[in-house]
């Protein structure tokens, strides 16, 4: 039989695309029904203040108001590793935009009207406006009661400070590393919080049925985690809670946090369990709901004169904002990969998760890695300049390869590590690096290239798993059910490809269920961390094996052979020795009926699951452990056209070469990488919350929070190297985030080269570059 894969790698269009472009795809916010009640929020205009009093009387006068909830409505503290966040602010507010009250009314406009009429008296407090400020002696405390919060065993909050947790990594012998270093550099970088700005603003609905069943519909990347946490927060049984998620209109990590669900559960409870809907307005989605983490970092590198890295001392001061929520884990995820994709024997790294009076952090595409990459890559550029070594050459000299150990001290091999030298080599050719790196075009214009490398493992929970169910239809087609949430990545189409490949059948005969419902869909841990294809793909393959075994068992009886004599393809089961002896799957997938009416078998239901193999907890003191199944790598570049006079610039080209392991869907993979690159460039060149001295966000709307628009994009080039990860489905490596990781660093490198000054802050606004040039920091 022909074992050559046929559909793997082909650019199969996403199965949901027609509904999306036709406008008929349904999202959580499309939910509507008679009797539905609506909730709207009142939010804090201060970043840090005591709530002195609340006057709800005017709000209650609005007709149709059913309930008004305030901080007094619940004693629950929410949080993942550390439960520090009231569902509605209580006694004090800790960031601009924090929820202080929720109004439930018959109509959305009435709820909004009433919410706007709530009068709150605040007593403003001194604010913590950056990690640096947070660590100052006598800094105001964001959480005075830090010592009283519940937390997991891996977290050690530091009461009396603004430090929620410190994650550490210790590898090798630092003293030896510095002794072997002939050259050292020190580099600092900084950027503030920004946002995901997904097209779909977050939305959740909740209803409590008479029998106690809680039904939650939510635009979440993690419906199964919503079930778990809502149960934990309100002392419910997880099985009592049903969480449903249809298509999600972009998430980027922002919908991995659990925020609106507990709010809307409380709202429903306050109105006797009636169904309540809460959809963020854009302003709330930007600042009230969790954002992208900020970072200040200091990197010290030591190397030989030949450029071999010997020591790295790294300190990350992450701006987790007002609540630790996912920030603690984002920091913890950055630590095991803290050096970037370079082999360094001696590493000392501390990652501080710091409280400030900023919007709090959710996950963000890359989960700590675009952040650490910016710090490391800027330090690498500084080192290259000091050593007078070509920056791409310096990266090649230090590129981590099989036989090296990761910072978490995992021994690397060809399977658990992508091929960085191959990526660098191909990048060098594409961008013609050796031809020129910067050149003057006219009086004011300089063209320049910048480069960066990146890597990432997944750092999912050690027991992160995924399940899949295959339900055969009477016509032999298959319904594929997976807990993976379709957030726009096209992964469910890729799962259909994986199944079609394994069963050697036409992909049009595989029907994918897009909605996830915790009562009917097997769990997929969370749709995060570029692990969808790996985890759910393996589950689908196992489910396929299960279905094949069932089909062979019944076919063996009908065809009067043994199951091991049979093979499957083209929706038939064949006898290997004589393919003319076969039976259509449609004749056995609902049982087989003999001519006289006797029947055997039944509906074939394939079942599979996958749990990550041989993961080891990361030791919080040393960073030792196994953070995930594979480190994927990439090399990236940006080219700019820079105006030396006013420091404005245009990004003309952007290139990514990434080790895909195996490309499963070419256009899909290119689209994922390109989209991530676009997002990374936006993060680098314009996206940021602009705070005043009082911690107020001055641009909480898309009027002033600018995003990369279509037409501003550079020419994108995406290429893949293919070094299979042997235990991944058909060898495919994680791909969803990598395109973003190195973009900020590559842009900063290109602009530093063009402007003649080191640029180490984001966003790279022309005014910032102009100021850096005025100060004249030499490169």
């Amino acid at each position: 039989m022909d074992e050559q894969p046929t559909i793997i790698g082909r650019s199969i269009p996403k199965k949901e695309s027609k509904d999306k472009v036709g406008g008929t795809a349904r999202y959580t916010g499309d939910w509507n029904s008679s009797g539905l009640l609506h909730a709207r929020l009142a939010v804090s205009p201060y970043a840090h203040a005591y709530i002195c009093s609340m006057d709800l009387s005017k709000a209650w006068e609005v007709p149709g108001v059913r309930a008004i909830l305030t901080g007094e409505s619940s004693d629950t503290l929410a949080g993942e590793d550390l439960r520090d966040r009231p569902i509605i602010a209580k006694k004090k507010v800790r960031y601009h935009g924090e929820v202080v009250a929720v109004v439930v009314a018959d109509r959305e406009d009435l709820a909004k009207l009433a919410a706007d009429l709530i009068q709150v008296t605040y007593e403003p407090l001194a604010v913590v406006n950056s990690p640096t400020e947070a660590l100052r002696e006598n800094a105001p405390l964001v959480h005075e009661e830090l010592g009283t919060y519940e937390h997991t065993h891996r977290v050690k909050p530091m009461p009396g400070t603004n430090i929620a947790n410190i994650s550490k990594l210790r590898k090798g012998d630092m003293q030896k590393g510095w002794l072997e270093s002939e050259v050292t550099v020190r580099q600092t970088i900084a950027f503030g919080p920004s946002d995901h700005a997904a097209m779909e603003t977050r939305c959740a609905l909740a209803e409590i049925k008479r029998d106690g069943t809680v039904v939650i519909d939510t635009s979440s990347q993690a419906p199964h985690a919503v079930q778990r946490y809502v149960a934990q927060y309100f002392d419910l049984e997880p099985g009592q809670i049903v969480v449903g998620t249809p298509l999600v209109g972009g998430a980027f990590g922002g919908k991995a946090s659990i925020q609106l669900e507990p709010l809307v559960y409380l709202a429903s409870k306050a109105v006797g369990g009636r169904k309540v809907k809460l959809q963020n307005m854009r302003e709330e989605d930007l600042i009230t709901s969790p954002a992208h983490i900020g970072l200040e970092a200091e990197v010290k590198l030591g190397a030989t004169n030949e450029g071999k890295l010997k020591a790295a001392h790294i300190t990350f001061y992450f701006d987790g904002g007002a609540y630790s929520d996912k920030a603690i884990d984002v920091v913890a995820a950055a630590i095991p990969d803290c050096t970037g994709p370079y082999s360094i024997e001696n590493v000392h790294c501390d990652g501080l998760c710091i409280y400030t009076n900023h919007p709090y952090a959710s996950a963000y595409r890359g989960y700590g890695h675009s952040e650490l990459t910016f710090a490391i890559e800027r330090a690498m550029d500084t080192l290259a300049a000091k050593l007078h070594i070509d920056p791409l050459e310096l990266r090649l000299i230090n590129a981590i390869t099989p036989g090296d150990t990761s910072p978490s001290q995992t021994l690397l091999n060809e399977s658990n590590l992508g091929d960085l030298p191959a990526c660098i080599g191909r990048l060098k050719e594409i961008i013609e690096w050796d031809e020129w790196q910067a050149k003057q075009v006219d009086e004011y214009t300089i063209r320049a290239k910048g480069i960066s490398c990146c890597w990432k493992n997944s750092s999912a929970d050690v027991d992160a798993s995924s399940g899949a169910v295959l339900l055969f239809n009477r016509d032999g087609s298959i319904n594929l059910v997976s807990g993976y949430v379709e957030i726009g990545t096209g992964t469910k189409t890729v799962l259909a490809q994986i199944l079609a490949e394994r069963l050697k059948m036409d992909i049009s005969r595989i029907h994918v269920k897009f909605e996830v419902n915790t009562r009917t869909t097997p769990e997929h841990w969370k749709t995060v961390a570029s692990r969808g294809t790996f985890l759910s793909g393996r589950a689908v393959l196992e489910a396929a094996e299960d279905a094949i075994a069932q089909l062979k068992a019944i076919a063996a009886i009908v065809l009067r052979v043994e199951p091991q004599d049979l093979q499957i393809g083209g929706e038939k089961v064949f006898y290997i020795a004589d393919p003319n002896v076969n039976i259509d799957i449609k004749d056995i997938c609902y049982g087989y009926t003999y001519p006289n009416g006797n029947s055997i078998g039944g509906q074939v239901i394939g079942r599979g699951h996958y749990i990550q193999r041989r993961r080891v907890h990361i030791d919080p003191e040393t960073g030792r452990g196994v953070p995930g199944p594979e480190w994927n790598v990439g090399a990236q570049s940006v080219e700019v056209e820079f105006n030396r006079r006013d420091c404005s610039y245009k990004i003309t080209k952007a290139v990514s070469v990434i080790d895909a392991g195996r490309v499963l869907n070419r256009k899909g993979a290119e689209g994922q990488v390109m989209g991530a690159m676009s997002m990374g460039l936006g993060f680098a060149d314009r996206e940021a919350f602009l705070f005043n001295q009082h911690g107020i966000v001055l641009n909480p709307s898309l009027r002033n929070y600018n995003l990369n628009r279509y037409g501003e994009n550079p020419e994108y080039t995406v290429e893949f190297v293919e070094t299979p990860c042997v235990d991944a489905p058909y060898g495919a490596r994680g791909l969803g985030e990598h395109g973003l990781l190195g973009m900020p660093a590559a842009l900063a490198d290109a602009l530093s080269r063009a402007a003649g000054v080191m640029l180490n802050q984001l966003p790279l606004f022309p005014e910032y570059i102009w100021r850096a040039r005025m100060r004249g920091t030499p490169p």
């Binding site: 909004k112 006013d646 404005s648 600018n706 606004f765």
Partner: protein
């Protein structure tokens, strides 16, 4: 979502519109004339604007007319910025308008809305200031036609209930060499860091500015300076910036220092360019 209720009226004549405005004002409804509605929608949903009644002026023929004849160009206030640009009637005005917002918004934003709006930049007024045009204004006491410099000082000074109907421009200006440059903080679509519109007339270069101070303006003092050919263009540009009518803006789009720097360079470029043109 706008949480306050308001009434909607669509009169078909200027008289009817003005009468409605008076009538609704007396009822305390704080009526607003409107055409595109972009500000009412975006500010209304955030409670930064309130009205109990809107008077849609799109059915009033004078407001929707744009035509050239007898040496003048008349442009109704409800002509959208997209129409203004695509018509090619007055390229400087069309291109200045095309720098505002994005195309989808410009399909709604009108000449009158931009000139009378609450957003401080009001860039579309710059070419009107440069051409010494006349504005036809209708009010409870009837219509009047006034030179723009008499009624536009930082904002359009309308009396209560008055409606800016149309601008009447001497057609000769539409064929003169011009330049309009909009510099933004970073994004391709944004408010201005600096916008300069300039026109090369027989008697010298005229220039008007937005984004520089907290209001758009044209300054005769600056025009005297930039037309002093005794000095090199770079020096004239430097001097002009010292003659601004108010402090340079310093906000999230840019600091006063950077704005000043961009302003000098942009003005210099425009002078160089226009002086080369005949």
């Amino acid at each position: 979502m706008i949480s306050f209720d308001f009434e909607y009226y669509k009169p078909s004549s200027i008289r009817e519109a003005v009468d409605l405005h008076q009538h609704l004002s007396r009822q305390g409804k704080q009526p607003l004339y409107y055409s595109g509605g972009t500000e009412i929608i975006t500010l209304g949903r955030r409670n930064r604007i309130y009205t109990g009644a809107v008077i849609d002026i799109k059915a009033i023929p004078e407001c929707r007319a744009a035509a050239a004849g007898n040496g003048t160009l008349s442009i109704g206030c409800a002509i959208t910025l997209s129409e203004l640009h695509d018509s090619g009637l007055f390229p400087l005005l069309g291109e200045t308008g095309a720098g505002v917002a994005d195309r989808t918004s410009r399909n709604k934003i009108t000449l009158g809305g931009n000139v009378c709006g609450r957003t401080m930049y009001r860039e579309v007024v710059l070419p009107l200031l440069l051409t010494d045009c006349s504005l036809e204004i209708a009010g409870p006491g009837g219509s009047r036609t006034v030179p723009i410099e008499q009624v536009f000082q930082q904002t359009l000074r309308l009396q209560p209930g008055e409606l800016f109907v149309r601008a009447v421009i001497d057609e000769g200006f539409t064929r003169m060499p011009y330049a309009v440059v909009k510099k933004r903080k970073q994004a391709a679509i944004d408010y201005p860091l600096v916008t300069i519109a300039a026109l090369k007339t027989g008697s010298g270069i005229r220039a008007a500015f937005s984004g520089v101070c907290a209001f758009p303006f044209r300054s005769r003092t600056i025009e005297n300076t930039i037309n002093n050919k005794q000095l090199p263009a770079a020096v004239r540009a430097e001097l002009a910036v010292k003659e601004l009518p108010a402090p340079i803006l310093s906000d999230i789009k840019g600091s006063a220092e950077y704005r000043g720097w961009v302003l000098v360079n942009t003005l210099f470029d425009i002078l160089e360019r226009l002086e080369r043109m005949s």
